[in-house]
């Protein structure tokens, strides 16, 4: 077989509806799951430093379990496993104008639960990066621990979180493809289905790859803009990552090092 240029070009610029819908789904799956993952990650990070032992144990156990098992396995357990055991069945949900199929709900739950464990570690490092003197200053003014965390530590930690959070979202855009294992019609599965009808495997998946890279590249620009704005606002020390380095690498990325360096 040869590379069919006209097929390729046609697919790239005039994709079938299933491709477009798959791509749209990939984006909103990633956005919603990331948002939920951030919230869950913050909660887990706070629970890990709670004075209540059960909360600490739960958070540590959760992170251990989720980070120690593959996302593919988690997806199958959450969607097919829980239904097979009669625990919970994801049914179609009608939200006014939107209809959310069960598999999409399961996909979002899987990604959010998974991402929460990773975000928890990022949040923890970010919170730890805020100088101890900040908490002491807040508490010396009569703030309670919660208030010090909320008004003094977290606003500073959140700025430190932004760069790694951007990397997480970039990853999330691509990781959605794993949900094809439970039959979620996102971009990858749309490509696969199209492939089984046409057998133009190479052309189809190169187009899918191009779609993914367009999405992640657009995100890189958005991330740069967000970080520049935060920097301009002042009071922050986010390292300035050139877009070139963001897209093509070249910086030595040591997780945590970036966080520590930010203070």
């Amino acid at each position: 077989m040869h590379f069919d240029w006209s097929f390729f070009q046609h697919l790239l610029f005039h994709p079938p509806g299933s491709f477009v819908q798959g791509a749209i789904r990939t984006v909103y799956l990633a956005v919603i799951s990331q948002a939920l993952g951030v919230v869950l990650g913050l909660l887990l990070a706070l629970w890990r430093r709670s004075r209540q032992l059960p909360l600490r144990v739960f958070a540590s156990g959760y992170i251990w379990l989720v980070r120690g098992t593959p996302l593919l396995v988690q997806a199958v357990i959450i969607y097919d496993g829980s239904s097979a055991l009669g625990l919970y069945s994801f049914g179609t949900l009608n939200l006014g104008a939107f209809t959310v199929p069960g598999v999409v709900q399961a996909g979002i739950v899987t990604l959010a639960l998974n991402e929460g464990a990773y975000m928890a570690e990022i949040m923890r490092a970010a919170i730890d990066s805020v100088d101890r003197g900040q908490t002491e200053a807040a508490e010396s003014l009569g703030m309670r621990r919660r208030q010090a965390m909320r008004h003094v530590v977290l606003p500073q930690a959140m700025r430190v979180v932004i760069p790694p959070l951007g990397n997480e979202f970039n990853n999330m855009l691509k990781v959605t493809s794993l949900l094809s294992v439970i039959g979620l019609q996102e971009l990858f599965l749309a490509a696969q289905d199209y492939n089984s009808a046409t057998f133009r495997t190479f052309e189809i998946f190169v187009v899918a790859a191009i779609y993914y890279i367009v999405m992640t590249t657009i995100w890189s620009f958005i991330q740069s803009a967000i970080e520049r704005r935060l920097q301009a606002k002042g009071g922050t020390n986010i390292a300035n990552v050139p877009l070139r380095q963001r897209l093509f690498g070249g910086g030595v990325f040591v997780p945590g090092e970036q966080l520590r360096g930010a203070r």
Partner: protein, 275 residues
């Protein structure tokens, strides 16, 4: 400066003259250990209301730890430490020992105690005026407009009204420390604690911070200052406490203690810092 006769007749063991009830701080046999290191060793002293006390001593002598115990940033291990008439951070339990107070109560006690840090510890994500107004708004539940108006006045009082919208990193060290003093004053404390407030400053900025503190003393604020600024001690303090190796080894009026120290370790220390 003249603060009246009530603070003149201090004794060698550190007991201050003021009548009970007027004491801002009262320590009685305070001990603290960091691991095996005995950082506070049977420390007893008093600070009367309206008094300015400067604590001096070599590094590692326990003076900063003692100050941090006064708002419960550090816990004491034994003895009694009363601030504003109450055990700070603890309550007496049925067995006569000390039980740590609830977090809410400790926070409430700290509202009455201003603390100024060596490293300023301003909140870098907030402007100067937001730094000052944050605690009144969040802790005292003062209306935002009123808190900001009062914060503006306080910034004027420490001489940096024009920097209200600057972020800490845009301010010099001296300006930052003055914002930090205004921030502590915003809670209207009855007592101000200063932990080496000028040690992190470039020499040319020491004067502006000391001037603000001098002003504060003149207005009658009760102050405990850990400092190496002997000029400030001489000019402003009612009493000077000399600490070494976790103990108070000498207490007296600045003129007496700084010029005619009774203890040889005080003499040795002063000869090092004054030259």
């Amino acid at each position: 400066m003249n603060r009246g006769d009530s603070t003149m007749d201090t004794t060698q063991d550190g007991a201050a003259p003021a009548a009970a009830g007027q004491l801002a701080v009262q320590g009685d046999g305070v001990h603290k250990w960091f691991g095996r290191m005995h950082v506070l060793d049977d420390v007893s002293f008093e600070v009367a209301s309206g008094e300015v006390v400067v604590v001096i001593g070599p590094s590692g002598s326990g003076k900063t730890t003692l100050l941090r115990c006064m708002n419960h940033l550090e816990r004491i291990d034994r003895g009694r430490l009363l601030v504003n008439g109450h055990l700070i951070g603890y309550r007496e339990n049925a067995k006569g020992g000390l039980t740590e107070e609830s977090e809410a109560e400790i926070a409430r006690q700290r509202q009455e105690i201003g603390f100024v840090f060596q490293q300023f510890n301003l909140f870098p994500h907030l402007t100067a005026i937001e730094n000052v107004a944050l605690a009144p708004i969040r802790v005292r539940k003062v209306a935002k407009d009123q808190a900001l108006a009062e914060a503006g006045q306080l910034l004027g009082r420490v001489g940096i009204a024009d920097k209200r919208d600057a972020y800490p990193r845009q301010l010099s060290g001296g300006q930052q420390q003055r914002v930090a003093i205004a921030r502590a004053l915003a809670m209207k404390p009855r007592l101000m604690l200063f932990d080496e407030p000028t040690s992190a400053l470039d020499p040319e900025m020491v004067g502006e911070v000391l001037e603000v503190m001098r002003e504060l003393a003149r207005d009658g604020m009760t102050m405990v200052v850990v400092s190496h600024e002997m000029g400030f001690a001489r000019g402003v303090a009612d009493r000077v406490i000399m600490m070494d190796e976790g103990r108070i080894i000498e207490t007296g009026q600045p003129g007496q203690l700084l010029d005619e120290p009774a203890h040889e370790r005080t003499q040795a220390f002063l000869s090092k810092v004054l030259h």
